[in-house]
Symmetry: C2
Subunit: 309 residues, 2 copies
């Protein structure tokens, strides 16, 4: 029996997404949001999303009824093992809400902020117990996409980061601890680069929004569902993988294909990238990975045709 209790502060799109995920994974949830109609909206979201999380597979103790709405932050957080903060993206507002949470939460409770860009060191400044504050940044829809980026501030302890990692893992997520604080963390920086390039293409009249989208879904998007940019290029390099790719396409980094300037391709960076790919590939040869990639692609293409003909 999952005895852990989660408090959700702020029930917008992200807060409600968290509620569905935690309920689906057998947790108790207490929610607070000052806006009128928040509870009714949350019930709507749970109803619409429940079919999806059922298909994915519910925890034995999961119930969409194990949720209570309360009328203060204090009531929401006082018994919680984890408090997830999801208020609008403003530093002053988040700091005030986190201070209130920190005041009433149990000392060893984890506080996770869903912020997409504010550094945890800034979030934890006003807290009496800053050591348990982490950024825990999810992706929409939160109840389906498994990625959550965990970032600690200067005062966050290693133990609390690990505790946070383990708790989100218990909610069937793939938590990724990022040791260095940087705006936008990792995933959003990658998405933002692509997004800005997409805006340039539309702005310069090269492509419509629909053409940009198709350039992704008919091409690289099919690869990115199963492997990221490094592994994709590792496979494009033939037997030698990334080592060969960098030889052949290193010079392309200087081309004006995007206004984003690439870092200098030093020997050190090359080795880091090559070693990274070879470590990730492990004992699987490029040919083996290609074989699996292709089998997956065939299934994926059929799936896309079923849902988006």
């Amino acid at each position: 029996m999952n005895n852990k209790q989660i408090a959700i502060i702020g029930t917008g799109v992200i807060g409600n997404g968290w509620i569905v995920r935690f309920l689906a994974n057998g947790f108790d949830v207490v929610a607070y949001d000052p806006i009128d109609g928040a509870e009714a909206r949350t019930k709507e979201v749970i109803e619409q999303a429940w079919e999806s999380v059922e298909s994915l597979g519910l925890h034995t103790d999961a119930s969409h009824e194990r949720i209570r709405f309360v009328s203060s932050i204090e009531d929401a957080v006082k018994h919680a093992d984890l408090i997830q903060e999801n208020v609008p993206e403003r530093l002053d507002l988040k700091q005030d809400v986190l201070k209130e949470i920190d005041r009433f939460a149990q000392k060893d409770a984890i506080i996770g902020s869903s912020t997409s860009g504010i550094k945890p060191t800034e979030l934890q400044i006003k807290l009496d117990h800053p050591e348990r504050l982490v950024v825990a940044h999810p992706f929409n829809p939160v109840y389906l996409l498994p990625l959550v980026e965990i970032v600690g501030g200067k005062q966050t302890t290693k133990e609390m980061k690990q505790a946070a990692h383990d708790l989100y893992e218990a909610a069937n997520m793939k938590p990724m601890i990022i040791e260095k604080e940087i705006e936008g963390f990792v995933a959003d920086r990658l998405m933002e680069a692509l997004w800005r390039e997409a805006l340039h293409l539309v702005n310069d009249g090269i492509a419509t929004t629909e053409e940009v989208d198709k350039a992704i879904t008919y091409g690289a998007g099919l690869r990115w569902a199963q492997m990221g940019p490094f592994m994709t290029f590792h496979l494009a390099g033939g037997k030698e993988g990334m080592r060969h790719m960098l030889k052949q396409f290193g010079p392309a980094l200087k081309l004006p294909w995007t206004k984003l300037e690439a870092p200098e391709l030093t020997e050190d960076l090359k080795e880091r990238v090559i070693n990274g790919c070879e470590t990730h590939a492990g004992d699987r040869s490029v040919a083996e990975l290609e074989h699996k990639r292709n089998a997956f692609l065939v299934q994926l293409i059929d799936l896309v045709e079923d849902y988006w003909p």
Copy 2:
């Protein structure tokens, strides 16, 4: 019965990918490559790839035996309806090979270059019949990913671009005609922006290559298999879609989340982006699109777990 004949000049990774696709779609293929062992290598690739294209579905007249290797460009191209050029990415080399192709090809044959970045206007300069030269840029693996970018040079006619479009469509592809010439065309510019940001993250010690890859495959990658960046944000905007997203996240374009500077978010650009999304969505509401997206995501997540546990 598909009577069209395709000539493949240069049988590296891309050339061989084209061979498999055309054979799988019922075409006759003639190939030429000056390197020793090219024919044996091509046979290997066809063997390894045939299972995948069979699963996807072969044309009634498809046979992996309808391929001949010849010993000159002249013999390869003289009866071809389409000649696909796949020699290394060097302007002078491509210009020379294309000149040779152009000399011996039938006047109304289409010449497609697989170049990833050289402008078609530069490729067609030395040709006697430049009007039939297009860039036809595919994505690896060519026999599975359906996207091909079609770009004409200054001397390419509208009719030849359309003829090229139709022929690649007959090879079960999703051809996209791009009217403006620009380095990297559309898809590679998007991929390059993400790639350079990825390199920065590794270079600055923020993430390993594996962490960057996971940030994609556990997050946005699952969305990009079915919808591009514009439609993804349209859905993230709730009922109002992209209009609301731009209000809420327009300011984020100024943040230093990536060194890539965004274009100015003028009223004109906003309208273009909003109209683009609303046109692409058609009569499907955000809620309907979300519902379909979720159903697809559930299947996709299961699929990923089968192949990449």
